[in-house]
Structures are given as structure tokens and as C-alpha cells.
Amino acid sequence: MGLKVLSIVESAYRATIEEQDDTILWTSTALRGAGANVDVLLRGNAVNYGVKGQDASGLQFGERKQTHPPQLEDDLQRLMDLGAKVYVTTDDVAERGLERNDLIGGLEPISRSGMAKLCGNYDQIWHW
């Protein structure tokens, strides 16, 4: 049985404008694409990555434009399309005034109290 990793993304919007993505979602997608068994849990402010209709476009310094702003909901969808489970912490969603229908489909809800049991399903936890 191969290694099974749960990547917990908690630091949100960490240089996403400069990077044009979230670097941990990017890494997880690259690993999934290479056949690795990695799933993702969004907690804290990172639950906002699942909000529909985000628009980070428009940044420009002088004549230099950001032509490929991050599209995090699309990045999450790409990750799920590769077979990854993407969990979202329901308590953190509620604390931020978000409703379930504010989020894209396919995310798997998990309560804070259920996280320990979830972690038990993985060989390693990578908390970013």
C-alpha cells in the first residue's frame, strides 16, 4: 500500500497574487498528477478558497499587469478532477459567515471534532 498523505492548508492567500496560485494546492496537484495519493483539508481562512466567483484580477503596477491572477476555485476543481478529496472545515466556514451554497460543489465537509479521526486515515499529515 502506498503512502497516503493529508495536506492541511491553513495559511491562506500566502503570496497567491505573486505566485498565481496557492503553492500548496499547486504542489498537491503536481503530486496527484504524478500518481501520489494526497488529499487536502482546508481549514481556518483557507476555507475561503472554496468560495465561488472569486476575482483577483486587475492588479497593475505601472504598465506591468498581472495577466494570470490566481483562480483558486478552479485550482480546487482541478485537484478534485485528479481524484483528490478536498475537505473543508465546516466550523471555519460558519465562523466566516459563509453558507454551504457559497462554496463550489464537491468539497467534503468535515467538522473540527472530526478532524482527529480523519487524520487517522492517513500515514502522514503535512500541515502547511
Binding site: 503512502l3 504542489t27 503535512w126
Partner: protein, 137 residues
Amino acid sequence: MSDKKTITFALMDPPYENARCTTALRLINIAAQRGYDVNVFAYEGAVGLPFTKQSPHPNAVHGHDADEEDHPLPHEWIEAMAKTANANGGNLDWINCGLCVDERGVHEALDFVRRGSPADLWKWAEASDNTLVIPTK
């Protein structure tokens, strides 16, 4: 089964920004002293840790010239820890995320530092007793 342990670290913080770097180096050093095989995957700003163009400086507030100040340079610490690991029968292997190096222009690194990708982190994690991620915030 061998008692020898292998541990993989994934680091994200750049040098000289916060205490997480120092904590990470302390943990790596303990593993090196125990003769573990230690793998470090440097991601994002952490690729600056083994950057060999780090240089010492004087400190007028301390009244020290550069020699007296003897300012710590992470690349020197990393090199020293590699020697510690070898002296204790272990090894320190270090891979810098190549794209992260390109973004930051920190191509000059210690000789044993290699360029790689997250796939290397995965291979290491598969072959290690455990993996510790120390992310930036």
C-alpha cells in the same frame, strides 16, 4: 531491520525572518547528531537558506566590525550540519525547489544542494520514517 532513522523536513521560511528557521535548523541538527539520514526539501523562501552569497556584515550598534560581529550565515550552518551528520554516520541531503530558486534568483548554493521538485519530496516521504512540514505563515 536497521535502527537507522530517516527523517524528511519540508521548510518554507526564508532566512532572517522568524524563529521557525532557527527551530528547523535546531531539529535538523539534533537528527544530524544522532546519525540520522536527514532530507530537507526547501520550498519557497527556504531555498535562500543554503544560498552561498549570504555574507557577514559589521554591526555599528554593537560596535563590531564584520569579523568581531561574526554574523551567523545559514549556509555555513547547513554546511556544518552536513559535516555533523557525516561524522555520526548519517547524511544530510538537501533539495531546493527549482522553480522557487528561479523566482528568487538564488542559484548559488552549497555544492551538495540539488535542484528538484515536489516529486522529490514525495519520494523522500515514502522512504522516510516520518516527515515534518514547517511552513511559513
